[in-house]
Amino acid sequence: MSRVIRAALFQTAWTGDKESMIQVHEQAVRDAAAQGAQVLCFQELFYGPYFCQVQDKAFYEYAESIPEGAIVRRFQVLAKEHGIVLVLPMYEEEQPGVLYNTAAVIDADGSYLGKYRKHHIPQVPGFWEKFYFRPGNAGWPVFDTKVGKIGVYICYDRHFPEGWRALGLAGAEIVFNPSATSRGLSSYLWQLEQPAAAVANEYFVGAINRVGVEELGDNDFYGTTYFVDPEAQFVGEVASDKEPELVVRDLDMGKLREIRDRWQFFRDRRPDAYAPITAP
């Protein structure tokens, strides 16, 4: 019997304040754990509104240091209590004025494993991210958690195949893609790019998107969170496009081996011929 990872994703709507937003996510940890989920990833900038709809430095306050900040510590306790791996997409302050769009990864025993910093930062109407974040500079870490090897690729990153590949080469079995993306802009890509990345790199992808319209703008976040397997098949149903939802699915790692034995993309790739891609 191959290894099965019970993995979870949580999409939700902005509650109106940071503390209640954190509490909603704490409850989601308990709900996921009640079903035996071994790993859970939240949506991008999980405890805030998607403030990049406006350019207002008041939202710099949402950033905190990782892992020293209070939120990471709070979720470390929960992770340990429930024996669950947590991926926390947050707003990180390295030092005043040096801010990143980051995900912290907590192991099932509550220990802090490290962070991924979003590399690709958009600057288009409704997504004014360059105002808030420096581009990521912490490489392509894959975290060796209690349940398996996990990578994170945040929101706009997903449009760039190179990072997906780097995570695959580093051994990721599941890559989480926490996002905040709106109906008019990207819905035609949402069920195309991540399944394609899962196929190209022969791993599972968990894609998370928040739901609802927030007071800061007109972005209509369309949820439809899902897991997709290395054959581009959705694992169970895609979540609601309007309601908060916890997605809990069993991911069969035997499938990963089966597909990699069938295809040999990692063997047959030609990095020696790819220099033009990395030329600055």
Partner: protein, 523 residues
Amino acid sequence: MTTVFEPLGPALSVRQVLALERVLAGEPEVIAGASRLDRPVRWVHVAEAADVGVMLSGGEMVLTTGVLLAGDEDKQAEYIRSLHRAEAAAVVLGLGRAFPAPPDVMRRAAERCGLPMIVLHRPFPFAELTEEVQSRLVRRKFAAVSLSEAVRTALTGLITAGAPLQRLLDEVAQHSACPVVVTNLAHRVLATAGERPAVDDVLRDWERIARQAGGSEGDGWIRAELGGRGERWGQIMLCGYRGDTGVGRLLADRAAEALVLHRMLGNAAHSWEEESAQGLLTDLVSEVVPARQLLPRARAAGLPVNRRTFVPLVVRDGTPAQLDRLLRLLGLSGLVAELAGDATAVLLSLPRDQDAEALTEHFAARLRTEPGSGETVVAAAGPRTVWDDVPAGLREAQHVADAVADSSAALDLPAVVRLKDVHLRGLIRLLRDDPRVQSFAERELDGLLCERDGEEAALLAVLRTYLASGRNKSRTAQLHHVSRPALYRRLEAIQTRLGVDLDDFEQAASVHIALLAHDAQQG
């Protein structure tokens, strides 16, 4: 009245044109591209110009005498190549003055391109052929427009008459002569129409079809998006349409327009998702259809059914929408639907390795944290690992919910109530229609059921609480907001009217049973 059209077959092919009586009289001979005679002919065009290719837009059968080509082999070969580039369906050459015999250069060029080339050994005026083929093609176009109009009129009529979704789909299926499936964005099947065995075949394979991230058209699978006001919310599919693809697309588009209109008018009391779940759970409970046959429908409706534990629940106060939202929030798989009698059924589907009872408790506890649901009771049947046992489980949950329907406050029930919790109450509920039980209840409670001074209803309520609370006087007084002395006076009045001593266990038990039976009959 509904006009039923035969599904229109594919457009006229080259082969069909050659088989027309008028053409046969011209003694046609296929001299090249014989393997491509099934190409559709969109139009028939007479052209003698050497550069005819630039005037074509594809799909034409070109008729020529070759008068401008005779004697120039380069021109002949280029003529054929230009037809090929313009994607003409075929070329027909009438033999005569220009070409007494089939020209070899043209034949070779046509064979290389794969362009069907036909010569007529006994040429006839081309106008006779164009007239015949053109009128057939026009008739086909007209038939398609008529079909489109007929479907639109029929569906609009149904919508204005307030017909349900199912009736609309039945109409579409009648025209398409193949299974019709409506899904939401999660590829959950919301409704189907068509002949049952064919629909079941489609649903049996649904998981594979639905889980394809892309989704392809072809093999007669014709899809049309459902949406409006910039929002997409589902799809309608003709599964295995056997006629012409263009006509199928037209049917699917008309159906999609009607469905969007139906949904936007929004006169249905329930969403399509609710209606779908309701139909399924109602069929399961009633066992009109054996559970096993409903399995493909359940799977297509999004309920995981392989290696699962099923927990049937019934919730008295709680709307399907609220319960569905909670299931999503907790990440639990299940179907939710309102059943008869103000009860909502929830069929949970849990992985086998999970503690079904603990998750049911978790669900019920979270339900009580919802606004206005502080006292909500979830009636649960025992977990079922076999699908065939689910109908009995649903009925068990219904029975438990009925048994505790009116007395949850006095009983101080836990969040989840099971068969073992309803004790005597459950038995009485089952026996409530027995005339002997009914006359027993009448006899025992006679003094409080016959109206004399209008106090009877209030006294009956006190009696109910007193007995349900295990003859706890302080709790009864508290629940009825009266002082202890006032309660004593009421208990005294009750004993006098019934002629019993409630301190005597057997007499109290007898009255209690009678009251349970009375309440069961009322409910």
